[in-house]
């Protein structure tokens, strides 16, 4: 007996939903198996370092850092309950990742049909980029969660002409502002969207003042919310200004090039393949033009409300951040995580805009590609974001003795090593910096380095130089050591993280454990 079209459609919906849920589950399992046991990373160790402090000290430390305090505060309480084991600490981020999924679905459902919404959420959940940060003890999934919530309430607020959802919009904005400074760029984009809404108010020939009059209610409430948020965020700004930033305690961000823009999109969609693979993929950029031809040729008409909003929030913040980076470099793909919900929504919308047959092929290919790249990213040793500080610590535990010294450069990378190192050798940094006295890291100087080495030579047999996060003087350190001391060991643990051991004295007997 043949089923009626309605029942068939219902079955297809159920099948689609089950498929998407299975994929999300599969991605989470893959990620759990392959990533959660990995070494603590630099950023994570800094978060943990801050979270272990008292709340006033935490706030002071964070104010001198480049972040807002909400995540560190949450982590502070989290570790009070669950302890500081990195695998457990990372569960906080994972929790926000899980919470983001229904929030995004709800937000996308405001403007599109169920298939687009579910597919967009699935892309988000399968994204190697998102999954990487869902398992990192940092604020990025909290930031994504705040973004999702803010999208939801902004759309509801806007579609009710500012009459409803004011409180939700206000709260989500505050949550976003205290999650990451880059949330500000989302607000700027929303502001530009509001201006666009006023400008494009129909009928188009109306004078601007009349258009403003039509949108008066929305504008007034929007301005009120923004003012209130600004007032409530101001104390933190004042606190940051009064604390003064600690110089050089964070990795140097280089000025971006056009390559970085492409790289950001590669990261969002493909995660973190090796640098060589990223370069190869970016070199194929002319195919983007071909993609435009496919996007901008006849497709199934699909009604998406507020489509301009999602297009704008997917791309404009990247342009703004890129432009600002010419004044002060701030362009990092993880800071731009807040564009991913909109970007994935646009992807889902495009993928489902063709005939059913073509869309099925495209969606399947896209999702298979994401799962494959997730596996590749998590398993490959050449994944550039992998930082095997635990491997370094284990190695030093086994090899460095009391009569050796460990020198870490850049100095701030002492955090992850201090977290996991339990050996006998003393730890110093190049340039020398006292982790326990918060304050700026002094600039590198070759003469100071030489003086310190002279001291070490009188006290230790070997020096284990741990190099990562090149701050512009790594090659100077290596050159000097290679030309003045005998290198006895060189070992690379993950991309950009290596340990070089040098013999300082020849009157001591070298013994390997």
């Amino acid at each position: 007996m043949e089923q009626s079209p309605i029942i068939q459609k219902h079955h297809k919906h159920i099948l689609f939903t089950i498929s998407m849920f299975c994929l999300i589950g599969l991605a989470i399992i893959i990620n759990y198996i392959t990533v959660s046991s990995q070494s603590i990373r630099l950023d994570e160790s800094q978060s943990l370092w801050a979270a272990t402090k008292s709340i006033p000290a935490l706030l002071t430390w964070t104010s001198q850092d480049v972040h807002v305090p909400l995540y560190n505060l949450m982590l502070h309480f989290w570790i009070q309950i669950f302890g500081t084991n990195i695998a457990v600490v990372r569960r906080l981020s994972f929790m926000f990742f899980l919470l983001t999924l229904p929030v995004l679905y709800k937000a996308f459902r405001q403007v599109s049909n169920y298939r687009v919404s579910l597919l967009a959420v699935t892309i988000f959940a399968l994204s190697p980029f998102i999954l990487w940060y869902s398992d990192e003890a940092r604020m990025y999934t909290l930031f994504a969660f705040a973004t999702g919530l803010n999208h939801l309430y902004f759309i509801k607020f806007y579609n009710s002409n500012g009459e409803k959802w004011k409180f939700g919009y206000f709260l989500s904005t505050m949550l976003g502002l205290f999650s990451h400074y880059f949330f500000f760029f989302l607000l700027v984009t929303q502001f530009i969207y509001m201006l666009g809404i006023i400008y494009f108010t129909k009928p188009r020939q109306l004078p601007l003042l009349q258009k403003i009059q039509i949108r008066k209610g929305l504008i007034i409430r929007y301005v009120q919310i923004m003012l209130l948020c600004a007032v409530l965020f101001l104390p933190w700004v004042m606190f940051v200004l009064s604390s003064g930033a600690a110089a050089n305690t964070q990795p140097l961000i280089p000025a971006p090039t056009t390559y970085n823009i492409f790289q950001a999109f590669i990261n969002f969609l493909l995660g973190f393949p090796s640098t060589q693979v990223q370069t190869l993929v970016i070199s194929l950029w002319p195919l983007i033009v071909l993609l435009f031809f496919f996007i901008f040729t006849r497709r199934r008409s699909m009604h998406i409300k507020n489509s301009g909003y999602f297009l704008l929030t997917a791309f404009l913040p990247i342009v703004i951040v890129f432009a600002i980076s010419f004044i002060r470099p701030i362009f990092l793909s993880r800071y731009l995580i807040f564009v991913t919900p909109s970007l994935f929504f646009v992807c889902a919308w495009m993928l489902l805009s063709y005939s059913k047959r073509i869309s099925s092929v495209l969606v399947t290919a896209f999702l298979v590609m994401m799962v494959s790249l997730l596996l590749y990213q998590n398993i490959s040793n050449s994944t550039p974001v992998k930082e095997d500080y635990v491997g370094v610590s284990d190695y030093l535990d086994q090899n460095a003795t009391e009569s050796d010294v460990i020198a870490i450069s850049a100095p701030f990378t002492i955090y992850p090593i201090a977290y996991s190192y339990t050996g006998q050798a003393g730890i110093v940094t190049i340039p020398q910096w006292d982790l326990y006295n918060s304050g700026p890291i002094p600039p590198f100087s070759l003469s100071s380095f030489q003086q310190n080495l002279a001291t070490y030579t009188t006290e230790y047999n070997r020096i284990y130089v741990v190099l990562s996060y090149d701050q512009g003087y790594e090659s100077k350190i290596k050159n000097y050591m290679d030309t003045h001391y005998k290198r006895v060991i060189q070992k690379t643990f993950s991309p950009g993280l290596e340990v070089d051991a040098y013999q300082l004295r020849y009157d001591a007997v070298l013994t390997e454990k």
Binding site: Y199, F200, R204, T257, T258, Y259, I261, F262, T279, L280, I282, S283, L284, W285, P286, L287, I288, V289, L290, F292, F293, F294, I295, F296, T297, R298, R299, S301
Partner: protein, 501 residues
């Protein structure tokens, strides 16, 4: 299902301004000559970019959303000019001619007379009298030319010399007018300065096969945003069929131009030179047949290309008196479009040259170029997408791109002064395999595959090699729908032709 109007939409001024700005920013990149690698190739690409930006700017100017012209006196009752309906025929199937005559007779308008203009005799058809018989049966007048010359234009001019009506309406043999055609068109002639009213050339068989689809999709874009845009500048031109022309205006320029195979295009230019007005009405008021096979499409495009290039080089609109500046720009851009083949060839060959010989036209990083190029392309395609009201297809782009070879043939025939005869587009499907029309494209694909191998062999997976490989893939992909259309597929729909009498 037939559509009532042509698909188009107005692009907002904000987006057009942004697109123009981005186009100029992109173009500025080429003026930084520190980017040059090999000077010859850079120079050639630079010329190509001048062409691209010129075409883009004229396109954006064309689709700029002006307020629509309003004709307050559009009232059919006020206009009762006598109308001669011309159906020029040569060798079309009688069944098709019959349907067109019947449709023409069905047009609601009192003061009209239908003339079938037969060139069957001068074309040496043995059955030329069949058309006269058909006309007798259907009770319409048949004017059979006995003296050859001037092709379709000559046929019309001959008829003009024997009729007395004030307005001439022309329908190709396959173009069946709707009953309301004259009711919609004639009111515009209440303006005594109105020379002609053009309506779209709609293909009722557009879904028949890949060729008809591709052909229509190109046509739809032309009769949509482009002609509507040209209309804003009083620069819409006669497209040979589905048009009503005031006889006085036509006679002032000596009738339809017989010296050019794109007679309609040149005649319009001359009429506009005499400061007559024109209107383009984007409403489907007559339906006809698209070329059913690639050979017919090829011949049709070749004729239009050759004719337009001739207008460009022999009757350059820039130097014609009587045209407004914007009319000159519009005629110029219509002619310039057919030079696209030269630029496509250039753009196709540059990556091949790099892959084969390692010679680079540009020395700077390709991603820095992409920063200028990608937003420009994004906005350009977005404006086309909006202007076409989501009706432009990949196939239409493919057919335009793949027409490079026939455009080169037309260009070559022009510079070598070869004569090209006016050929009526076949109304029947010509059976056969037309893959040979795609030999240039297939040769390119073979050459591309070979050069990709050479490039990778020489330099490995170097970013520059991959960027050029991507360009080659882009070019090959653009050709695929055209190549597919050259192969006969079994799932084509048959075109129903009714018995003649």
């Amino acid at each position: 299902m037939e559509q009532e109007v042509i698909q188009y939409s107005f692009v907002q001024k904000f987006f057009l301004s942004l697109t123009i700005l981005m186009g100029l920013v992109y173009f500025s990149w080429w003026f930084d000559f520190s980017h040059a690698g090999n000077w010859l190739l850079y120079g050639l690409l630079f010329i190509g970019e001048i062409y691209h930006i010129t075409m883009a700017l004229t396109f954006w100017l064309t689709i700029w959303p002006y307020k629509q012209k309003v004709y307050p006196s559009l009232n059919a009752a006020k206009v009762n000019l006598s109308v001669a309906v011309f159906i020029p025929v040569v060798s079309e199937p009688l069944s098709i001619i019959r349907q067109t005559i019947l449709a023409a007779k069905g047009m609601v308008y009192e003061n009209k007379k239908i003339y079938v203009l037969s060139d069957a005799y001068v074309a040496g058809r043995n059955n030329w009298q069949d058309i006269e018989e058909l006309c007798k049966v259907l009770n319409v007048e048949c004017i059979t030319r006995k003296k050859a010359g001037g092709a379709k234009a000559g046929n019309i001019n001959h008829a003009l010399s024997v009729i007395n009506e004030e307005v001439v309406v022309i329908f190709d043999a396959d173009m069946k007018p709707k009953s309301g055609f004259l009711q919609k068109v004639m009111p515009y002639f209440s303006d005594p300065a109105m020379a002609f009213v053009q309506t779209p050339q709609y293909y009722s068989n557009q879904e028949a096969n890949s060729v008809t689809q591709g052909s229509w999709e190109q046509q739809n874009f032309f009769f949509g945003p482009i002609m509507i845009g040209k209309n804003n500048y009083n620069a819409a031109f006669i497209c040979g069929t589905n048009v009503a022309i005031r006889k006085v205006a036509l006679m002032q320029v000596g009738g339809m131009c017989e010296t050019n195979i794109a007679e309609d295009f040149l005649t319009s230019l001359m009429i506009h030179q005499n400061e007559w007005k024109s209107v383009y009405l984007p409403e489907v008021l007559a339906t006809g047949l698209a070329p059913l096979d690639l050979l017919s499409y090829y011949k049709q495009q070749l004729r239009w290309t050759r004719g337009s290039l001739e207008v460009l080089f022999v009757f350059n609109p820039l130097f014609k008196k009587g045209l407004t500046f914007m009319q000159k720009i519009q005629y110029l851009s219509s002619g310039l479009y057919y030079l696209n083949g030269l630029i496509v060839l250039l753009d196709m060959m540059i990556p091949i040259i790099f892959l084969l010989y390692g010679v680079q036209p540009v020395s700077s990083s390709t991603t820095s170029f992409a920063l200028f190029f990608v937003p420009y392309m994004f906005l350009s395609l977005y404006t086309i997408y909006i202007a076409s009201n989501n009706s432009i297809s990949f196939k239409a782009f493919s057919f335009s791109q793949a027409s490079f070879y026939l455009q080169l043939v037309a260009f070559w025939s022009l510079i070598t002064r070869q004569k090209m005869k006016f050929a009526v587009t076949s109304k029947n499907k010509i059976e056969g395999n037309f893959l040979y029309l795609c030999y240039p494209h297939l040769v390119y694909i073979l050459l591309a595959c070979f050069s990709i191998g050479m490039g990778i062999e020489r330099e490995g997976l170097h970013p520059a090699v991959l960027a050029n490989v991507a360009w080659v893939i882009f070019n090959m992909t653009m050709f695929l729908p055209f190549i597919a259309a050259s192969i006969s597929w079994n799932r084509e729909l048959s075109v129903q032709i009714q018995p003649a009498i």
